[in-house]
């Protein structure tokens, strides 16, 4: 292995962390960017039987070129099935899928996500895209993996708008809703990896990324973040995974900006 793959960027670390969350044989609905790289990395390594699905209705894609969009033309040829939104999101709503990837402008203590507004919904300070398929994926997939930029205003105690419910205000509140999906299982942030307490459903810090301190993470979180007793450094990526990411999955550096 060439030494050049011993280094890694934060984005690469996050893509590898996302890949680790996926098990072989799972049906995964993926977006663009890091989730896509994470999913394809998993498929190229420990999860060859993973089924990659896009909400645009492409099922079990084997694109020759890394797609730039969830509706990229490269997704269709070679996929096992190509339909439309009804095919892509119908199976999400039916509860067929194991994992979905989510992101957003804000996430709160109980994993609720906001992709609508900062400020008042009717008079927004900043207006974002809206739900798209996020709420559908959050309600339908057995579990979700959230990828977030970790900043204080993005990790508030309570989101300004609940686009995609996590665990509401914790405990059994989500269970009562009767969703087919179980909620977020992990948040892969730019500072660390966070999980949810099995009973309280409160988010806690499971690991901090290399070079990041726990203090730094707590400072960038809008509530008093619980830290796991066995908190540790996020596992460093194997150089082989970095090689696959750079050379096979994103050779032109579309998603992983060249350093």
């Amino acid at each position: 292995m060439a030494l050049k793959y011993n280094d890694f960027t934060l984005q690469e670390l996050m893509a590898v962390a996302a890949a680790r969350e996926l098990k072989d044989g799972e049906k995964v609905i993926i977006g663009t960017g890091l989730p896509l790289l994470g999913a394809f990395l998993a498929q190229k390594t420990h999860a060859p039987n993973m089924v990659a699905i896009y909400e645009s209705g492409a099922i079990d894609c084997k694109p020759l070129v890394t797609p730039f969009s969830v509706a990229d033309s490269v997704l269709a040829p070679g996929s096992a099935m190509q339909g439309g939104l009804m095919e892509g999101l119908g199976i999400v709503h039916a509860g067929d899928l194991d994992v979905g990837f989510l992101g957003g402008a804000q996430i709160d203590r109980y994993g609720n996500l906001n992709t609508h507004v900062i400020g008042d919904y009717r008079n927004p300070q900043v207006r974002f895209a809206g739900s798209g398929g996020s709420n559908d994926i959050g309600a339908g997939c057995r579990r979700t993996i959230v990828m977030m930029l970790h900043q204080k205003q993005r990790f508030p105690e309570k989101v300004d708008f609940v686009t995609t419910p996590g665990y509401f205000r914790g405990g059994k509140e989500r269970d009562k809703m009767g969703f087919s999906g179980g909620g977020p299982s992990v948040v892969v942030s730019t500072l660390g990896i966070l999980r949810f307490h099995p009973k309280t459903k409160e988010m806690y810090l499971a690991s901090y990324h290399p070079g990041v301190t726990i203090e730094q993470i707590k400072d960038n979180t809008g509530w008093d973040l619980v830290v796991a007793k066995d908190v540790k450094e996020t596992e460093r990526p194997d150089p082989e995974l970095i090689r696959i990411l750079r050379e096979e999955l994103d050779p032109t550096g579309v998603f992983l900006k060249k350093k």
Binding site: G33, A58, L89, H116, V126, R127, G130, N135
Partner: protein, 314 residues
């Protein structure tokens, strides 16, 4: 031989899209009809309600141009390309004027279209439940969505969303015949359900083919001709979006739009160049080639990845 519905985008938009209409727009990132969108903007249609699960720059341009009062959607953005500035200016600052949006999810809009296309009054879903989309409504009030109990299992509650049946729809496909039978492959997007739910449809297409070409592979037809009132020939009619088998997405052009539309002035300049300042789609393509060169234009063209044939014999 039935009557030909072939006409120009200019004729179709003038004849069939009136101010104040509810307009269903078809596609999902892929195969958006810019041919029709730009004509709507040039003809300065007003007070439209536009509907689509996920909108991109085509909505942004209509919003910036003042055509839109209301949006039924779940998403107005351009994925990793970035935010849409006219949409944000309108929602945040009321520029050029205040607009309203009924926020749904992608699947919820699809459920509304599915209901509309099948004559079903509403569909109960789990999406949106417990979210703040249930708290707020714009102009639809109680008619946006309702929490109802499953009549077969009184312990379970679902979100009922009502059928959506726009006055008119428009979309872009690879090919259609003169009667309006529409064939599409690759990513169908919200079609076929969105367009079937519209009362009437304008289709723009890469190619007009004979009825015999349609009949050779009738499973590819996603909308029957009787729903269609106008067939608009529009090669490269989805540019800067892609159309499977015809051309790829033009990333540089989309980035350019998002960059230039950061200010209302920059947006105006872009639109003067590419919409207001051209007569029609042919003018647009000519300008594109004049500006960026034939080579870049031809680079967009799709490679040949053939589906191969199947046998329909009996």
């Amino acid at each position: 031989m039935k009557v030909s519905k072939v006409m120009t985008a200019k004729e179709a938009v003038a004849k069939f899209i009136a101010d104040g209409m509810t307009v269903g727009v078809g596609g999902f990132f892929h195969a958006i009809s810019y041919a029709i969108t730009h004509e709507i903007i040039r003809q300065q249609k007003r007070r439209l309600t536009i509907c689509q699960p996920s909108f991109n720059e085509h909505a942004d341009q209509m919003i910036g141009a003042g055509c839109v009062d209301r949006i039924v959607s779940s998403y107005v953005w351009m994925e990793v390309f970035g935010p849409l500035h006219c949409f944000r200016r309108a929602m945040e600052k009321g520029i050029p004027h205040k607009i309203e949006m009924e926020d749904y999810t992608n699947f919820a809009v699809m459920a509304r279209y599915l209901a509309g296309s099948l004559g079903i009054p509403f569909i109960p879903i789990q999406s949106m439940k417990g979210s703040d989309m249930m708290k707020y409504s714009a102009w639809m009030g109680e008619g946006k969505a309702k929490l109802i109990r499953d009549p077969f299992n009184s312990k379970k509650e679902y979100v009922a969303v009502p059928a959506l049946t726009p006055d008119i729809g428009y979309f872009h496909v690879q090919r259609a015949d003169e009667e309006g039978n529409c064939q599409m492959w690759g990513i169908w997007g919200d079609s076929p359900w969105s367009m079937r739910a519209c009362k009437q449809v304008i289709v723009s297409c890469e190619e007009i083919v004979g009825r015999d070409v349609i009949g050779r592979d009738p499973n590819r037809t996603i909308l029957p001709g009787y729903k269609v009132i106008a067939v608009v020939p529009a090669p490269f009619g989805a540019h800067p979006k892609h159309t499977q088998g015809y051309y790829d997405v033009d990333r540089d052009f989309i980035f350019q739009y998002i960059r230039e539309s950061r200010s209302p002035e920059g947006w105006k300049k872009f639109m003067d160049n590419w919409v207001y300042g051209v007569e029609d789609r042919e003018g647009y393509l000519k300008k594109y080639i004049d500006t960026y060169g034939m080579k870049k234009f031809l680079n967009l063209k799709a490679k040949d990845i053939s589906s191969s044939s199947v046998n329909y014999g009996f």
